[in-house]
């Protein structure tokens, strides 16, 4: 079954390469870089990993099920294998949401088992280091422990910590209209691979918190966002730094009292994978039951050209 899916994934990868064409010039550069090493041994997978070193932007992979490891494995297989994204010796940064001191079963933080599964995959693909970071509302020990993130990530071989001191940030030119400069996470700026890993949940101010919103946890002064224009700032931040991949934990989440909770929990049992963060958020909002157009930061980001809001223009693959 896995192999079939894997080959299917390669097929999709090749197909999408043909479809997008010149849009993939970046990935072709990556493919030719001297560091390129293939993790898989069979000839067919070699083609796959080199072809899809950055996955197809126009594709969303929806992994369905309840087993955390399987959900992640299926997703990466359908994308074209993790080896395409994570090269040997790469430094990977995962940005889950553990901003509130809730337990995993309270469904207000990214599921630690899913995070651990991605950490494992990255390390198996040869990553030198996998860092799992967030800038939580509350103190690092409380959030890292209650969310179960530290335990799960450390067991998987990764490093989980909170970036709650200014020394974790550096001044960057974000180039927005409102968000001109910001103190942004050094870890992400220095990473070879950056994966955004939000949970799908309710948010009192922005209706939903998703991939685009999750990026706020990489900025030192969040108060600036709230003081000026929250949705526009989120969009401009999204335009500044796009993750290599966004994975949305939509296994379950709170549908009210967000972002802090506790709230009413709903289960979707899905994990959404995509390169285009606007597209991922659009799909997730639809899944949640809110029109994506009502989520202001999604429309603002789409207007800035961060990604595609029209699901019709995307290939949604369920696995």
């Amino acid at each position: 079954m896995d192999r079939r899916q894997f080959i299917g994934g390669i097929g999709y990868g090749l197909l999408s390469l043909g479809l997008v064409g010149c849009g993939l010039s970046l990935s072709e550069k990556g493919e030719n870089s001297p560091n390129t090493q293939n993790v898989q041994s069979t000839p067919s997978s070699q083609t796959a990993s080199s072809a899809a070193s950055v996955y197809d932007r126009s594709k969303l992979i929806i992994s369905e099920g309840t087993d955390p490891n399987l959900l992640i494995e299926k997703g990466f297989a359908a994308l074209g294998g993790i080896g395409a994204l994570v090269r040997r010796g790469a430094t990977v940064v995962l940005k889950p949401n553990f901003s509130v001191p809730r337990k995993p079963e309270e469904a207000a933080t990214t599921n630690p088992q899913l995070v651990a599964a991605v950490v494992k995959q990255c390390l198996a693909a040869g990553a030198k280091e996998v860092k799992v970071i967030d800038y939580p509302f509350q103190s690092p020990p409380v959030c890292l422990n209650n969310s179960g993130i530290r335990k799960a990530v450390e067991a998987a071989g990764g490093k989980a910590y909170a970036i709650n001191e200014q020394s974790f940030y550096t001044q960057v030119d974000t180039g927005g209209k409102i968000l001109k400069t910001a103190l942004f996470s050094k870890d992400v700026l220095n990473a070879d691979v950056f994966i955004n890993f939000p949970i799908l949940k309710h948010h009192s101010m922005t209706k939903l918190t998703l991939g685009l919103k999750n990026m706020m946890g990489l900025v030192w002064d969040r108060g600036y966002f709230h003081r000026t224009d929250l949705t526009q700032c989120i969009a401009e931040l999204a335009a500044f730094r796009k993750p290599h991949l966004t994975i949305v934990d939509a296994t379950r989440g709170i549908t009210d009292n967000g972002p802090t909770g506790p709230g009413t929990i709903r289960e979707w049992n899905q994990v959404i994978f995509g390169v285009d963060s606007v597209a991922v958020d659009t799909y997730a909002a639809t899944l949640f039951g809110i029109k994506p157009a009502e989520i202001e930061y999604i429309t603002a980001a789409a207007q800035l050209g961060v990604g595609e809001m029209d699901l019709q223009k995307l290939t949604v693959v369920k696995v």
Partner: protein, 452 residues
């Protein structure tokens, strides 16, 4: 040879006690493990903690037997707790050993001073008792498990442990004068030790070499009286150092034949003449101090206290300033109050929400040895109440889509109206200060928490 075994055992106990005390404090962090419990139980050896419980909680705790063990051992052998088990005693013993090696030529002055200050003890104990009864816990603050803990925490937090430095320096010059006459636990146990059953005494002909006086670190050598005085911490230094080997264990016959010579109240007896006037002087001073105390003490405005803290007046009275809550606090919300906020508030934990919010982990409740931070469940915690200054709030005043306070409130005590303006549900608010901490406007927050 048998002395050596006892000596090794004492060194071992002191070493373990000192090291484990420091390690336990250094490892006190969220989430709490066994170290919190161990530290709790270790501290309970001190009878003052029991007195504090009886005085303030008005109940007999389940661990009463532990301080009673200390008292019982004191009744048997004297201050064996101070000499063998107390971590601060171990630290000062080490300091003293060092001081005796480095400042050899001071040994005469050392024993003179130590002996001269002995009579202070009883007056000091009396003052401590009066202050304690009047309702202040800085008596407990001076006990080893509070003071030493407090000073270690200061070091761990990167502050200057000036009390520890002061005591250490004077110990270098004047031996264990702190243990001998100033430590509340020490003087209390000395008082009990007057009626102790076994003690060091002369059994033979003393050659009056005064070597025991010189070696005794608490000024209680048997040289002048024939038996070790009540301050004896059973270290055995006099016994080992005696050239004629006349010092040995003796049974005290409470009304026995040598009671005249060996009366437990020997020091008090010598002090008795003309001490009545002195007593009244001291009592008067203490009473004045107690009255002034109330005047100067609560100089500060009311502040946010840890979750579960007793009502303000009681809190400052019960808290022994051991600093463990400050050490354990994961969000560093708790900090000790400076002396400028009044003597009664000095070094008690408080929260400045604009600096750091309380995460409501309630670890401080677990580490508190005195019950000043009572074990109150989260639902019943009420530290303060939030209040919005609508003229400064950018959601109310400028119509901004801010609502960061509501977003971060961990107990859902803030809700938004139709324009995303924050409203406080006062009955839900616990006063953790998340909102005040998160408020994005410059300077003072538009939403502030006021203590209950």
């Amino acid at each position: 040879m048998k002395f050596r075994k006892a000596l090794l055992l004492r060194y071992l106990l002191q070493f373990v006690s000192l090291l484990s005390f420091i390690m336990l404090l250094a490892n006190l962090s969220y989430p709490l493990g066994q170290e919190s419990l161990l530290l709790q139980w270790f501290s309970r050896f001190d009878p003052w903690l029991l007195l504090s419980q009886l005085r303030w909680q008005r109940e007999i705790p389940l661990w009463t037997w532990l301080p009673l063990v200390t008292l019982a051992s004191t009744l048997l052998w004297g201050r064996i707790f101070c000499g063998w088990l107390c971590p601060f005693g171990a630290f000062l013993a080490l300091t003293d050993k060092f001081g005796r090696v480095v400042f050899k030529n001071l040994s005469l002055a050392r024993s003179k001073v130590l002996n001269a200050i002995q009579p202070m003890r009883d007056f000091w104990l009396l003052s401590l008792m009066i202050i304690f009864v009047f309702g202040s816990n800085w008596v407990i603050f001076l006990t080893p498990f509070a003071l030493f803990s407090h000073e270690i925490v200061r070091v761990l937090q990167g502050h200057l442990p000036w009390m520890l430095i002061g005591i250490t320096i004077s110990t270098l010059f004047f031996s264990r004068f702190w243990c001998s006459v100033l430590c509340p636990t020490g003087v209390l146990l000395s008082f009990v030790a007057r009626r102790r059953f076994f003690r060091y005494g002369f059994a033979g002909n003393c050659v009056h070499c005064e070597r025991c006086t010189g070696t005794c670190s608490v000024g209680s050598a048997p040289a002048s009286t024939g038996i070790a005085k009540e301050g004896c911490i059973v270290c055995g230094d006099c016994q080992r150092g005696c050239p004629t080997k006349v010092i040995g264990w003796q049974r005290s016959f409470w009304r026995g034949k040598n009671s005249k010579l060996a009366s437990g109240g020997d020091v008090a007896a010598t002090m008795h003449q003309g001490s009545r006037r002195q007593f009244f002087k001291v009592a008067f001073t203490v009473a004045t101090a107690a009255v002034l105390w109330r005047k100067t003490a609560w100089a500060a405005e009311k502040t946010l206290r840890p979750p579960g803290a007793l009502p303000e007046l009681e809190f400052t009275a019960v808290c022994n300033r051991c600093g463990r809550c400050v050490q354990v606090c994961p969000s560093k919300a708790l900090s000790p109050m400076p002396i400028t906020d009044g003597l009664a508030n000095f070094e008690t934990p408080y929260i400045i929400p604009r600096k750091n919010r309380c995460d409501l982990c309630l670890a401080c409740q677990e580490v508190c040895p005195t019950g000043a931070i009572a074990e109150v469940p989260l639902e019943k915690v009420r530290m303060g109440k939030a209040d919005i200054d609508k003229s400064r709030c950018i959601a109310w005043d400028e119509g901004k889509m801010c609502y960061i306070c509501g977003e971060q409130c961990p107990v859902l005590a803030i809700e938004a109206d139709e324009h995303h303006r924050p409203l406080i549900l006062t009955d839900k608010c616990v006063g953790c200060g998340s909102c005040e901490n998160a408020c994005p406007i410059d300077g003072e927050a538009a939403i502030r928490v006021f203590p209950n």
